[in-house]
Symmetry: none
Subunit: 263 residues, 2 copies
Amino acid sequence: MTVTSSSSASLRLPASASSSRGAPGKQPELLRPDGSPVRVLVVDDESSLADLLSLALRYEGWDIRSEGDGAGALRCARSWRPDAVLLDVMLPDMDGLTVLGRLRRELPDVPVLFLTAKDAVEDRIAGLTAGGDDYVTKPFSLEEVVARLRGLLRRAGAAAARSESRLAVGDLVLDEDSHEVWRDGQEIHLTATEFELLRYLMRNPRRVLSKTQILDRVWSYDFGGQANVVELYISYLRRKIDAGRAPMIHTRRGAGYLIKPGG
Amino acid sequence: MTVTSSSSASLRLPASASSSRGAPGKQPELLRPDGSPVRVLVVDDESSLADLLSLALRYEGWDIRSEGDGAGALRCARSWRPDAVLLDVMLPDMDGLTVLGRLRRELPDVPVLFLTAKDAVEDRIAGLTAGGDDYVTKPFSLEEVVARLRGLLRRAGAAAARSESRLAVGDLVLDEDSHEVWRDGQEIHLTATEFELLRYLMRNPRRVLSKTQILDRVWSYDFGGQANVVELYISYLRRKIDAGRAPMIHTRRGAGYLIKPGG
DNA sequence: GGGAATTCTCAGGAGATTCACAGAAAGGCG
DNA sequence: CGCCTTTCTGTGAATCTCCTGAGAATTCCC
């Protein structure tokens, strides 16, 4: 097994390092050395989920391919050389670990994000996250998958990209590694859901996000509750983020919410 | 401890000595004289273990090759010239001692970390470690293997790198060689597991580590228990580390734990 | 062999978090 | 200005996460 260290796995920031604008759309944040978008291979036999994921990841500006079984995944890995793999541990033709093992032999340095059922965590497989890989349990939110994938890509990439774990909008700063948030230098404690909502807003500054959009992105895909939770959580966020200060979270009546630097 | 004052095996710290961020990833902490990453040869016939080890070591930023038997190991040693060898003493084709002997003829100054079953320790292995080598018994934790390997590489390398055996986060200091820990100058006694957990946290300061991550890294690969032990040991650590003082170990509900200087 | 130290399971309880509901407040429009 | 719609937020209940004491099992050490 001839393992060259990092060959294809070096990633870099785009030339126009306007990195604060993590705006999904057509501006990928991470690029391959040749300037082409990052490649992500999605492996899931449930086609509806695979479609949902592909769509969301494409929206990040990444190049996506999707496979429904282990054999296809390996074939694709071999020929397409993705920069990251999103792998459901339950596949029809082979055990997730088997796929992982062979994948590793093919792409030693490519990070893998596992999708696993909630209860399967208990009979977890030792070392699932050992090599810097990560996992997400179903049902997940798209924001979570995207965030973890970005984390993996960031850490697998060039050292220069390492500092990029922070989002900033005005004097509001969010650190994805430590899960810390500051406004004007002062630390603010957020709950898990508040944190994800804020991260989504901050990754789309100055852009109106509808309640539906937010619900689809930040809440799990199987959430069955009222769309009103978004209002509730916006309210929570305002209390913590905007309290006293110039408001950064704005309501666009009939359209949605947006975040922008005070003023 | 007969530390051969290395010849070819001189290692050095990376130019950018941002060593406080022992953050696993692509930033190797130890480099060869030519700036390329350290090379480690993994020799184990159990492929799943070899894969797990390769994964974890590669994540340290090292260049890894893996062989399944003594013959292959010797071949690789000869042509690839690794900086360290991770050697299972139970190999299909030849006795671990034999492999070691020939390895030594090939690479006189390269340190070897033995993997051995628990009960086989006594007799012969102990003697082997006299030359600066070390050993780890199965089942092991990844943190332990990585730590020992780092220790070997460090000691085999330049003296300048010697000071690197200490981790510090705020006024908390941990010595990897002596296994001593101080908070604000005062020594704190930790059990083996507590020590490994703290080391893992301190090697990833200001980063949220999930319970699964911790379990995968700090506990043996064959541990089958509840993820709840992590909570328990965090609790123990807090009692010893944070007692009275400003807490350094923080809980991120729903995400994991992180350590950071008081504040 | 016996005592001490260590590791780990189990379960109760404290507290944090999520969410539905409903009335209050605010915005838009004729 | 009055009415209707949309958004905001207080309340409280259900749930979930995490902490920790007690004690069993195991290992270590003398």
